[in-house]
Symmetry: none
Subunit: 215 residues, 4 copies
DNA sequence: AATGAATGAGGCTTCATTCAT
DNA sequence: CATGAATGAAGCCTCATTCAT
């Protein structure tokens, strides 16, 4: 008699995870490229090795797929923030380091920036669902609060410095560079993500926040 | 005593212009609210006193209507920029004034900011068409270049200050506050456009650019 | 007091006729080019120096305009047939002459041929209306009957020769050459209306009918 | 005893093919009846057991459906031509047989003739696409060339006889009878496809080509 | 876990025609 | 005779989703 196929289940599971991941990859690219309404379930399926039915099987529908895409994208930037090492840096250098990490992450992940823009077009309705499950903002705010406290204690930072404000200013610069590169480039003839100018803008971002915070 | 209707624009013409304007108003709101793909020509027409057919008569189609909306929105911010008066201001005050005008315009016109975000989702393809007809960026750049030159001559500004960069930094702050208010507010629990915080952020924007530029 | 404008009416009338003629010219070209359903009232009007309103004023609507076009086209071929002179020709030469006149007329008026094709697509519904007003076929049939009678009497033509059949055979050849030139040319790589081959086909048409009729 | 369903084509596939065929049947009738522009996708769908959506699923659009209709119609006449058997016929009889086969095919397939007329209204743009994929004219021309060669060798046919010309003359007669029956019948009061006259016209067609070719 | 076929609602666009001036 | 604006019906097409196997 044939023995039971004990190895079977794990492989199926692994295939399942792989299928999910592949769908998420393609969907991320599509949603980032075309927006939510501009993306097509058919097209996403066609770019996958699986079929459209699988999207419904694994995710339930277009909207849930989009949320899953968003969740994974936010998870990745949280991971990046978690890996910043700045224990031995003085407050000023630490803030600059955070600005640079944000700058580089956003530069490296334009599709994430686009997803955030798309989310805002949709009044963040999907992120609202995410936030009920995960704390997206806590870590970076906690990090900044610690640095700012030290900086204020040492008399290096202005007394009204606020962690969320600082994060906002850094994000504004880093997000705008990527999110608005097309209109800005078209109108002003300057490509904000031109590699030749990356160092310039990274320094500019650091200068901006450091000078703003100076006591 | 004033006579009746001194301007002799024929009724027809006025009605036509009014119809166009009404469609543009509604379309601006719809496109800003739902994005390009998320907006419905039927819905735009329903919110108008005219019919769907008129949209095609006056504009030609959904895309051309969207471009017309975009054009009018950009025309308005150019008009706002043109009205800034800063002849008698010293360079530092002038830059701060420009930052504040931008800040206030964007705060007052969130639908414009949303249209710009939508444009970037579409890789600025429509703005590219606009730019072939109108110079959207020239005026503000010229204005800033003049101020920066004066500031550098007086030793007030850092020597590497660049007009387009300055405009970018100001825009980043002012655009982000409005464009990303939903995700930011959801994640960090802070409403960036809360009227109670408007003065704070306007000052923050001015500080940011003034300090960045300081020699 | 100003005198009455006595010369006015005649001019208006002449302009009216000219307007009608211009519309008919354009409409003939359009209907022949695109078929009835494929033609656009807007387009016809745009190609005219008048406006769309005039089409409705002068003709009543698209369908009536089409009928007017058809009527004028048929009137012209009747005129051509009327001008054939063959009193002094023997029956054989006369038949050949008629074939050649038909051949040349159809070759010179492809738009007429196309209108006839279009009419057949529409089951000749409009020609049926025309026929109630004008006798479109009588003249040519009478002409042929006369020739055939003489030919039979002289023992030159086969005894079962029939005028309508003869006209049909000639028409088939002359109409097909023009009406089906596009599919035929595409499939067989031969342009049936190539000027270099016109003489060849004209002779072929004459041979065909003369030999068919031979006793 | 016959076994049940010996061919194991899956149900799905058969259903798909049946759906396609049903749509093609209906579409052929509609396009032949109303022309391309006069036909309605909605109407075609309504006359089917499937829905309008399926037309787009299986064919892609109205135009592609029309091309598919055309392709099938041409495939059928090629098949008819292929089945002519005339190995043992002398050249004269062979040419007459070909004329008769064409005559009978066209008489039996008026919808094909109408499609060809419609194609010519559209300047054969769709047939041009077809011709890139299939050789529509080659077979019949090859057949005729062979017969003409034999006839010339035997001194039966005139020396300038050309295969494409012969095909054209036959086609002209057979196509005209069907394609122009409505205008011709209306104008001359004679129904060219009246069954009572079929034999007469078939013989007339044969006579025409045989006499034209005679040495 | 996978697949081709099917579906219904709704999207954008176009047309012939008429109205007000 | 002339004109720009307006209309309503209807056309073609696309989408997210589900069914049968």
């Amino acid at each position: 008699m044939a023995g039971p196929r004990t190895v079977d289940t794990p492989e199926r599971v692994r295939d399942s995870a792989r299928t999910r991941a592949e769908i998420l990859d393609v969907a991320t690219a599509e949603f980032a490229a075309n927006g939510y309404d501009g993306s097509r379930v058919d097209e996403i399926a066609a770019l996958t090795r699986t079929t459209k039915r699988m999207i419904y099987y694994h995710f339930g529908g277009k909207k849930q797929l989009y949320i899953a895409v968003l969740e994974r994208a936010y998870a990745r930037i949280r991971a990046a923030e978690r890996q910043v090492e700045l224990d031995d840096l003085d407050p000023v250098a630490a803030v600059r380091r955070i600005a640079e990490v944000t700058f580089d992450h956003h530069g490296a992940h334009p599709e994430f920036i686009r997803l955030v823009s798309i989310e805002n077009i949709h009044h963040a309705e999907h992120v609202k669902e995410l936030v009920e499950m995960v704390d997206l903002g806590g870590p970076i705010v906690a990090l900044l609060e610690d640095i700012l406290r030290r900086g204020r204690q040492e008399g290096l930072f202005r007394s009204d410095a606020d962690a969320i404000d600082v994060h906002m200013m850094i994000s504004a610069f880093c997000v705008f560079r990527v999110a608005n590169r097309h209109t800005f480039g078209t109108i002003f003839g300057r490509d904000l993500v031109d590699p030749a100018r990356t160092d310039h803008y990274r320094a500019m971002c650091g200068d901006m926040i450091v000078r703003y915070l100076a006591a």
